[in-house]
Amino acid sequence: MKIFCLIACFLFTCFITAKGEGQGVVSNGIPPAGKDSHNTSFHSNPGPTRKLVLIFHHMIGNKTLLLGETFTTATGDTIQVYKFKYYLSNFSVTDDKGKIIQLPPQYCLVDEADSASKTIVLNIPDITVTGVSWLLGVDSIKNVSGIQSGALDPLKGMFWTWNSGYVMAKLEGSATASKIAGQSFQYHIGGFRTPMNTLRTIRLSASLEKDVPAIHIIADINRWFTGKTNLSIAETPVCHGPGPLAVRIADNYSTMFSIQNTY
């Protein structure tokens, strides 16, 4: 009997030890990736919370995007898309009285090649949502705060090493109109300093019934080429740094999102 007790106690202490070691990561000041997203405290609105799921659908016009498939853009270009990804951060929701509630910090990289990344879970106060908003890109603070981890890890291929800063959105592929090697086009859009700031705040309003658990959002790649001014792949197939072209494309793609709940 005593031996049994001893063994039980040994197992018990082992269990505690294992837990203790795991906590060492946190006490070292390096929070594990994604921990922020589970934070349920609201500075302005304490109380019951619920989840709101944003589901992103990538389209070209009325066709669903498939990587490597051929599509015709609204500007008449025949293109294939190989990479399509963008950062979302600084989420907020609007309640039925028009009050905007800033949500806890959360940084998400939505990537067409990673279907799980196209679903984002927000923890929101238990309100009737009439609008949702986010920053398209990584806010300037995180661009000047050294290395980040999780979605913001430079490993994600969305960071410029020679001119510190995040690529806010990336669209790569090939187009018959392109005159450069491989008939490719590469749009790496970034820059967080004025006047080359490519951060864009996206506000979508939605007349949702209370407790609607998910919002379906469409991102239309056509808008990269037509959003505010027309972008010709033949003329400018490449954008690889902050500058007027990046700002122009950011203005264009800032119009790419819309809510479609009939999905």
């Binding site: 202490t13 060492g24 070292n28 981890s149 020679w162 510190s164």
Partner: protein
């Protein structure tokens, strides 16, 4: 009685177990290293609270700094282009050698006193020391590696797993930790023990040419090469003509502002006798070339820095005295300090003449 006895034994064992758990939590205890700001220097700009220096972190950073396997062909460590005997520049090279017989497009600067530097590279494009190593590791004409491969190689290495664990508490290896460890190693590379520093501390005195040179320096050079770091870390157009092969626009590449065309960061003059050649592309092979540039060869027009529009009047006499002064900025204990040398050095103690 028998039962309560068992309970007691159980309780005792649990308590001793808890004691063991507590002891185990203190198992991860990196030894902190105090960062010392030399007397009279400004506060460092690096935020040590986010990345406190520890012996384990520094040791890891040192191993990484001298590890050639961070490059594609295994030949190029950070230390291969940042050589200690040249105050961590590429000694006697205008440009450095990279992967597959390539050359860099800029002169590798010496590495020291980085805790006081806010931006890096000749154009200031990199805004944090922790991020700096990403650029040379991934550049095709430097280490030509991708970060994913570097990280997965490190994860496979038992010794690295052990070192990451002792520096950061567990075996997680990612770029965040790698960059921080490299920073820890580079941050403690403080050069503050030149003859100039000793004179300032009252431990030595200038001989006459050095003293005269210092007076000329304070009159003509401190507008940009501000003491005690010998740079104000600003970006200036010093009238260097464009090299057609490199076509380097300098700071304008970063800001996109045409007013920043051909501006480059003011380099520190500490250890200047060792860090030749000079200039962003290493075009000046000696200090005399630099003086000739400033007094005669430079392009002085409306784009040139306002302090240099009339060029810089320097007599032969002044050049001689200035050179004598600039030689007092050489920190011989820094370039021989075994703490900064490649790991495996048997005598791992700082030289006795290091001033703390």
């Amino acid at each position: 009685m028998k039962l309560s006895g068992k309970v007691w034994v159980l309780a005792l064992i649990i308590f001793s177990g808890i004691g063991w758990v507590t002891a185990d939590n203190t198992y991860f205890k990196p030894r902190p290293v105090k960062f010392i700001t030399p007397l009279g220097w400004p506060k460092p700009v690096y935020d040590f609270s986010k990345n406190p220096l520890t012996e384990e972190g520094i040791a890891l950073g040192r191993k990484l700094f001298y590890d050639g396997s961070l490059s594609r062909d295994g030949n190029f460590s950070c230390g291969s282009c940042h050589q200690q005997f040249g105050a961590f520049n590429t000694y006697d090279h205008n440009l450095s050698h990279g992967f597959n017989n390539s050359l860099t497009t800029r002169n590798a600067p010496g590495l020291f006193n980085l805790a006081w530097q806010k931006e890096f590279m000749w154009d200031g494009g990199i805004n944090h020391l922790d991020l700096q190593p990403l650029a040379p590791i991934t550049a095709d004409n430097e280490m030509a590696m991708n970060i994913e491969t570097v990280i997965s190689n490190l994860r496979r290495d038992k010794e690295y797993r052990r070192m990451f664990r002792s520096a950061f508490g567990d075996e997680t290896i990612n770029y965040l930790r790698m960059g921080r460890a490299l920073s820890q190693f580079m941050l403690q590379m403080v050069s503050s023990n030149s003859k100039y520093d000793k004179v300032k501390r009252g431990e030595a005195s200038f001989i006459l040419p050095e003293k005269l040179g210092y007076e000329i320096f304070q009159k003509k050079c401190t507008g940009c090469h501000t003491e005690p770091l010998f740079s104000d870390f600003s970006y200036r157009n010093t009238g260097m003509s464009t090299d057609r092969a490199l076509n380097d626009l300098g700071r304008m590449k970063i800001t996109g502002d045409s007013r920043d065309s051909l501006k480059f960061r003011v380099p520190s003059l500490r250890n200047v006798a060792l860090t030749f050649p000079y200039g962003h592309d290493g075009r000046f092979f000696s200090l005399l070339n630099v003086f000739e540039h400033y007094r005669k060869n430079m392009v002085a027009d409306k784009h040139t820095d306002s302090l240099l529009r009339g060029k810089l009047a320097l007599s032969n006499y002044e050049i001689g005295q200035l050179t004598a002064f600039l030689y007092t900025l050489t920190d011989s204990s820094f370039v021989k300090d075994p703490r900064f040398a490649a790991p495996g050095n048997i005598n791992d103690k700082p030289p006795v003449d290091i001033h703390q």
